[in-house]
Symmetry: C2
Subunit: 108 residues, 2 copies
Amino acid sequence: MGKDMSYKDKKVITIGIVRDLTGLSERQIRYYEERKLIFPERSAGGSRKFSFSDVELLMEIANKIEDGIQTHDIRKEMLREQKKHNQEDVRRKMIQGQLNAQFGLRKK
Amino acid sequence: MGKDMSYKDKKVITIGIVRDLTGLSERQIRYYEERKLIFPERSAGGSRKFSFSDVELLMEIANKIEDGIQTHDIRKEMLREQKKHNQEDVRRKMIQGQLNAQFGLRKK
DNA sequence: ATAAGTTTGGAAGGAAATCTAACATGCTTT
DNA sequence: AAAGCATGTTAGATTTCCTTCCAAACTTAT
């Protein structure tokens, strides 16, 4: 239940490295956070920590910005995507639930 | 040929995070580097950068240290492992070379 | 058993990396 | 014209990291 994550999603990368990996400025990275496009964690002292997923997302964001899309609209797109995935997830879990009920697979 | 790497091998994690991930002290981590058990890269400013592989290796090292094995012997074990893998690699590549020669698969 | 080596902690002082907040600029959109 | 967007830059404070040293408690070798 403690749900562990792949390396890709572990928040372990500081902003300077993200800068080097993406080619974005730190200013841009912080701004995209402000606009709620990315959600780094924080260290005890307050430093941002990003994952490789965040880095990938930032590169996609960079592309859209280049195409003249505004952060506001990027956010909308992202929320739409998210919703779609959530729905798929719910469907998948419901089906699993049905199966469990029918065939009485017990957990643990 | 620019050989790209998986996330696991990218050197992107600073020592403080490695400390948190492994439970080792920074002192210990630096010492194990001094003893040539791990090989972090450096930022332009001189900060160490580790990969997830390094983190895993550090956890193995920590176990061996707990078992009373000395860094010197851990290093020997590691070199032995390394050599074995290199040999396997050479063998694999030689076989591949033979096949290419026999069947004239051309590269590119 | 004395000497030498191992492993770790801790302190000092300095440099690098990060943080927030503010102001400036050049564009868009309203 | 006013408001909002995206980014750069600066300043000062804080956090993180670096190396170098000394100390302590062990372990191994002579």
